[in-house]
């Protein structure tokens, strides 16, 4: 598998580290215990397109948000994760 880093271009998998599911959103303060439990522990085991975070630690050290098909490993989109690159983020 090769990943086309938004900043570096296509690179071998060995330069990247997988973080995990990019879908869970941290609940607001004061959310119920069930919502927090869901956010921390519960993950979908998707057969198909998933959104996930990858870290280009062996390269430019940017975080990427990758949409990957778990059945085929086909990658349909890659974008810098929020906060990757100072220019990409507002103050």
């Amino acid at each position: 598998m090769r990943i086309a880093c938004s900043f570096c271009g296509e690179r071998e998998l060995g330069e990247f580290t997988y973080l995990g599911d990019a879908k869970p959103v941290r609940p607001e303060a004061g959310a119920s215990e069930d919502e927090v439990f869901d956010y921390v522990y519960l993950r979908d085991n998707v057969a198909g397109a998933t959104s996930e975070y990858w870290y280009h630690g062996g390269g430019c050290r940017a975080w990427l948000k990758v949409t990957r098909n778990t059945l085929t490993h086909e990658i349909s989109s890659i974008e810098p994760a929020a906060g990757a690159g100072a220019a990409k983020v507002g103050a």
Partner: protein, 207 residues
């Protein structure tokens, strides 16, 4: 109070033995040269301030800083892309140091002069040898003079860029590596180049 006398030493002081290594009786296909005593400053834009840093850097260096994996030569420095909104300033002789750059650039600066080792690789077999270490396509069509990459060699993060060609037309590949990994990577490079014959040198001169 004890007075110390600090002497600057290369992390490759012991590992690097000037001369030839590997195959004998043939013209060495690889030339490995360590460049010593350089000034290296890492410059990173602060959040949301990449444009300001770009302007300040352009005023300072007279050229646009690389905003993609490239190395740009100025009259007295090389600016090397090291990641989104960050770059290295590589120079010699105290022209661009923390003292001179910090007031001129509106970013986060850190001195990496003694944290990195710089090795330049050239010769007829340089690209063949590097193919054993790097997954980057170094063919001239894909990696021309001035191309750069933040990448890994032997599981070690390096900054790689193609400098100006040698006077005999051979390509020159520069590798900037972490000082503490340099000895390991140096031996890996020697092993990779052994079958082609390696010429080993060090210099104070930044090509």
């Amino acid at each position: 109070m004890v007075e110390f006398s600090w002497v600057s030493r290369s992390p490759l002081e012991h590992a690097l033995v000037t001369g030839t290594d590997g195959a004998r009786g043939i013209e060495a296909g690889i030339s490995l040269t360590e460049i010593r005593n350089f000034d290296l400053i890492q410059v990173m834009a602060r959040r949301g301030q990449a444009a300001e840093l770009g302007q300040a850097a352009k005023a300072r260096f007279g050229v646009a800083v690389p905003d993609a994996p490239k190395a740009v030569r100025t009259s007295d420095a090389t600016l090397i892309w090291s990641g989104p909104d960050q770059f290295f300033v590589l120079s010699k002789g105290g022209k661009h140091t923390m003292q001179t750059l910090e007031p001129a650039l509106s970013g986060s600066l850190s001195d990496q002069s003694h944290a990195r080792v710089l090795v330049s690789i050239s010769g007829a077999k340089a690209r063949t040898m590097l193919a054993k270490l790097s997954s980057i396509d170094l063919h001239p069509d894909a990696f021309p003079v001035g191309a750069a990459a933040a990448t890994s060699m032997d599981h070690t993060s390096v900054t790689l860029w193609r400098g100006g060609d040698r006077t005999d037309g051979q390509a020159v590949f520069n590798v900037l590596m972490f000082a503490t990994f340099a000895e390991s990577l140096w031996h890996t490079m020697l092993d990779s180049g052994a079958e082609y014959g390696v010429d080993i040198n060090h210099t104070e001169r930044l090509a």
